[in-house]
Symmetry: C2
DNA sequence: TAGTGGTCTAGACCACTAC
DNA sequence: TAGTGGTCTAGACCACTAA
């Protein structure tokens, strides 16, 4: 079921990305929007909060909302799924497991995955491609309780996230990401087809379920030029935007 | 004036970071929190929305809010200047202008700053330090209408953002950031004291006022190891999007 | 089934902006 | 000064979780 506030947000989003509302222009007042959609002002504010969080609009007390950007923002659910994100951008995702081995969690891994030190984990080295070109080398450590399900996946599984959702109802709901730059090591260089020592964008991330249970932690290295990360933010916080975590 | 919802958010934030509410634990119900603070449920929900946006807590319909992380938010969700960010982390920020020159905006700069092609701009090369160590080389292009104010600042100005706020009431309200990795060039290597060709984290950003007017666009290069960017996100709302280059 | 969060209403007052 | 968004209230109903 689509909620009223989602419908209103989508209508405004379309008006902005279609150019009906130019950058720097103002939106109708909340009262006008409420009347136009036959809802209360609170519902309109919930819709506007979503657009504020996306960085599409800005707001100041006393002045109407303004359009900050007409560029469509990437959908949330595609964020941690490489495959879904790629498809949303019109690209063809691919992937291949290079190595897969069980092992014991070291101190850091155990802490990140909230496991006892020495607990069993599954380490997977996976190469990801975009339109056939290698763009990302993932070194992922899975918690023991999901290891078997991951091992059961085909080596060229296109979307691990989708597969685990389908087979086990597992939802990747929350993530923490740390971004920096590193020099390509031997394996990085070979698989990503860059020179050893050349710059790579590294994203170390830990993903948890909706219940806050850690599922995996990963060291992802992106070939430069292939992918750019975009962040929009504001000094002003902040929104009532909320949707069920599914 | 601090609002009721801000006070409640801060109280909950403190309870979480102090460890009174452990990771994986649940918060009191919204009704209980409302009663405890003597406010309506709507106000409690406004406070919880702030913590959700920070990634400190998670929520699912039907279940109580859960604690996801006890680490204070250092997330990218809030736009902060280098100086603000440094001080928040307990570090001492510094800076020095290496070069400053007027010029004409090229095609790309004019588009980013919403100026006519060929309009006057101010280009500044600035080295930023953290506790005395060089960590960031900024190549910033300022729009013509603010150029004079920037030129009037001392070369070792610690916080340009703060200075422009004090002198002109100028607020940097919104930012769009693109992150990738690049090899250090000659100037990068010299100023950041790294080897030429070594990996740097590059952040290209454009900052605008609360009214949506672009103020500056910048190419920032971070020395690896000195700085890590952190992003927390979830399926519910997130500030991060990946976009293919080109 | 009881409790919880998600949605929505119909008001009210205040701080601030734009004119 | 009129209009706008920010805050807050006191309800109501529904979808979902957990026991």
């Amino acid at each position: 079921m689509t909620r009223r506030h989602q419908q209103i947000a989508e209508a405004l989003r379309r008006a902005i990305t279609d150019g009906d509302l130019p950058v720097g222009g103002t939106l109708p007042s909340e009262t006008e929007l409420a009347a136009a959609h036959g809802v209360s002002r609170g519902t309109v504010r919930q819709a506007l909060a979503a657009l504020l969080a996306e960085g599409l609009i800005g707001s100041r007390q006393g002045a109407r909302h303004i359009v900050l950007s007409t560029a469509p923002s990437q959908s949330f659910t595609e964020l941690r799924s490489f495959a879904q994100w790629a498809r949303a951008g019109g690209h063809s995702p691919g992937g291949r497991v290079l190595e897969s081995a069980r092992g014991a969690a070291d101190r850091g891994e155990a802490a990140l995955l909230q496991l006892a030190p020495g607990a069993g984990v599954l380490r997977v080295l996976r190469l990801r491609t975009l339109d056939g070109a290698p763009v990302l080398l993932e070194r992922t450590v899975y918690a023991d309780w999901i290891a078997e399900a991951v091992e059961a996946l085909p080596a060229d599984c296109e979307s691990v996230t989708q597969a685990l959702l389908d087979s086990h109802g597992l939802v990747f709901a929350h993530g923490e990401h740390h971004l920096d730059a590193v020099a390509a090591g031997t394996a990085d260089a070979r698989e990503l087809r860059v020179r050893r020592g050349s710059p790579l964008l590294r994203v170390r991330r830990t993903t948890t379920t909706a219940e806050g249970r850690p599922v995996e932690t990963s060291d992802d290295r992106y070939r430069p030029g292939a992918v750019v990360f975009t962040v929009r933010n504001s000094t002003q916080a902040n929104p009532l935007a909320r949707t069920p975590a599914g």
